[in-house]
C-alpha cells in the first residue's frame, strides 16, 4: 500500500505522484531487477509507434521550451521545434525504471510529458512518481495487466 498526492491515467497507464519513492514497495508481484528505460517507453504498443512514452519539453541541445500537441502523430517521435533533436529523456534529469511489465518508478527534476498517439498528452510536473498498469481478472482470484 502507498499514499499518493495526485493520480493521472493515460489509457491503461496509471501514474501516481508521491512525496518520495523511498519506502514504497512498488516492485509488484513479479519482482524483477529494475530496468532503466532510456527511451522513456513505459509500455510498447502492439503497433510500432503506439507506445506510452515519457518525453521532455525543454530541449537539451538548444534550450527551447516546446509545446507538444495534445495527441502526437502516429510513428512520429516528438522533436524540438527549433533544432529538430528528439525530446527523449535520455541525458535529461528524468529517470524511468521498470520492474517487469507492471510497475515502475519515475523521478524527474523537470516537467515531462506522457504521450501516446491515441490518447491526449499528460503533463507531469517535476517530482517522483509510481507507474502502474491497469489490471483485469483472468479467472477466479487471478489477474494480469491489461494487454493492448
Amino acid at each position: 500500500m502507498f499514499k499518493y498526492e495526485k493520480a493521472y491515467r493515460q489509457g491503461e497507464i496509471l501514474i501516481f505522484k508521491v512525496k518520495s519513492l523511498k519506502g514504497i514497495n512498488i516492485r509488484g508481484r513479479n519482482y524483477e531487477k529494475p530496468r532503466r528505460v532510456l527511451n522513456g517507453v513505459i509500455r510498447e504498443g502492439e503497433k510500432e509507434g503506439h507506445e506510452h512514452k515519457i518525453v521532455i519539453r525543454t530541449c537539451l541541445e538548444c534550450g527551447t521550451k516546446n509545446r507538444l500537441p495534445d495527441i502526437i502523430d502516429e510513428n512520429k517521435a516528438p522533436v524540438c521545434g527549433q533544432c529538430k533533436k528528439p525530446l527523449t529523456i535520455e541525458k535529461s534529469t528524468a529517470t524511468l525504471e521498470m520492474f517487469g511489465e507492471e510497475t515502475g518508478a519515475l523521478k524527474t527534476d523537470e516537467p515531462v510529458t506522457l504521450i501516446h498517439p491515441e490518447h491526449k498528452k499528460v503533463e507531469l510536473p517535476k517530482g517522483e512518481y509510481v507507474v502502474k498498469v491497469q489490471k483485469e481478472a483472468t479467472g477466479k482470484n487471478k489477474s494480469a495487466s491489461v494487454k493492448d
Partner: protein, 333 residues
C-alpha cells in the same frame, strides 16, 4: 498582447500583476529584451488605422520573420510566402523553396488557402516536373529522368505546420507522413498498390496495404483477415470476450450490436457510461467502459464478485491491493 484586429497594447505582469492598456491607431511598438531562454529578441509591430500592418521579429540580432499583412512573409531560411492580392489577412498565397527531392535538387512551389496546402509542384533542376498536386486530384510522381515512380490518390498533409515549417515538399518525408487523415489514400508503384489506407477518428480502419502487405484494421487494431471478413452475425461475443488482448476485444466487440451484447448476459449495474455484465458459466464479470479520448468501448474482465461499476473499475487500478481508497484522477485521457 497583439492580434490583427486589436488596436490596443496590453502589458501584463510587473509588481502585483498590474495591467495597463494603450489604444493605438497609427504607430509602432518595439519590444526588446531577453526571453526565458536568455536570447536577445526584438519585436516591432507597426499599426495602421487601428490594425497591425507589419511585424518584424529577430532573435540574437538575426531576422527570424518579417510579415507584411496582405503582401508577404519572409522567414529566416529565405522562404518567402506571398499573399494573394487584396486578401490583407490570413495565409493565402504561394511559397517557393529550393530543396532536394529523392536526392535531386529542385524547386518546390506551394499554394495555400487559409494556411492549408491546396496545391504543390516540384520541378527538378533539369526542368522535369516531379509532381503537380492539386487538392484531392490523383497525380503521378516522376523521377529525375521523367519515369513514373508513383501514382497517388489522396489528400496530402495540409495542416498549418507545412506553411509554418518552411513550405517543404510533402513527399520529402517518409511515405506514412505524406497523407492527411481526412480521406482514403493509395500509392501505386508499377501498377501495384504499395501503400493504402484510411483513418476514422485518428484510428486506422478497413483494409491497409503497407510495403505491399495487406492488413485489416478496426478501431486502429490489426485483426486477422478471417475475422475481418466474418459476417457480424457469425461473430460470437462470448468467444471474443475470452480473448487476452483488450484492444482486440474492443475492436471486435465494436462490430457487434449492443442488443446482441446485452443478450450474452445480464446487466447487474449501470453507472454513467459503464455497464457491468454477469455472464453465465463465465469465471469473470465484464465491465463496459468508454475511453475518454477515443470514445471506444472497452470490455474489461473484472472479478465475478463485483457488484458495482465504479467499484469494479477501481479494482482494475489496484484499489484494495496497492491502494486503500478509491482513486480520483486529476487527469484521465
Amino acid at each position: 498582447m497583439f492580434n490583427y484586429y486589436e488596436s490596443y497594447l496590453s502589458v501584463r505582469g510587473g509588481s502585483g500583476g498590474k495591467t495597463f492598456t494603450q489604444a493605438i491607431d497609427n504607430g509602432r511598438v518595439t519590444m526588446t529584451g531577453t526571453d526565458l531562454d536568455g536570447r536577445h529578441f526584438q519585436h516591432i509591430v507597426f499599426y495602421q488605422n487601428g490594425k497591425i500592418a507589419e511585424r518584424k521579429f529577430s532573435l540574437n540580432g538575426e531576422m527570424r520573420s518579417h510579415l507584411v499583412y496582405g503582401s508577404y512573409i519572409r522567414k529566416a531560411d529565405g522562404t518567402i510566402v506571398r499573399f494573394k492580392k487584396g486578401t490583407k489577412i490570413g495565409r493565402h498565397g504561394k511559397a517557393r523553396h529550393f530543396e532536394d527531392l529523392f536526392g535531386h535538387k529542385g524547386v518546390c512551389h506551394s499554394w495555400y488557402s487559409n494556411g492549408r496546402l491546396i496545391r504543390q509542384k516540384y520541378i527538378y533542376d533539369n526542368r522535369i516536373t516531379a509532381y503537380e498536386y492539386r487538392a484531392r486530384k490523383p497525380f503521378t510522381v516522376k523521377d529525375y529522368n521523367g519515369n513514373i515512380l508513383y501514382e497517388i490518390t489522396g489528400i496530402l498533409v495540409n495542416s498549418y505546420s507545412n506553411m509554418l515549417n518552411g513550405c517543404h515538399s510533402v513527399l520529402d518525408n517518409r511515405m506514412h507522413e505524406w497523407f492527411s487523415e481526412t480521406a482514403p489514400f493509395e500509392v501505386k508503384k508499377k501498377g501495384k498498390i504499395i501503400y493504402a489506407g484510411q483513418y476514422a477518428n485518428r484510428q486506422r480502419v478497413g483494409k491497409w496495404v503497407e510495403d505491399g502487405v495487406t492488413g485489416f484494421y478496426e478501431h486502429g487494431v490489426l485483426i486477422p483477415k478471417t475475422l475481418y471478413n466474418t459476417p457480424v452475425e457469425k461473430l460470437d461475443p462470448l468467444r471474443i470476450l475470452k480473448l487476452q488482448n483488450a484492444q482486440l476485444r474492443m475492436a471486435l466487440m465494436s462490430k457487434i450490436t449492443p442488443y446482441r451484447i446485452a443478450k450474452c448476459g445480464t446487466v447487474i449495474h449501470k453507472e454513467k457510461d459503464m455497464e457491468l455484465f454477469s455472464i453465465k458459466n463465465f469465471d469473470v464479470n465484464i465491465l463496459k467502459v468508454k475511453c475518454p479520448t477515443t470514445k471506444s468501448l472497452y470490455y474489461l474482465r473484472v472479478p465475478k464478485d463485483s457488484k458495482k461499476c465504479e467499484e469494479a473499475r477501481q479494482w482494475t487500478f489496484g484499489v484494495g491491493e496497492d491502494l486503500e481508497q478509491p482513486i480520483k484522477f486529476a487527469i484521465e485521457t
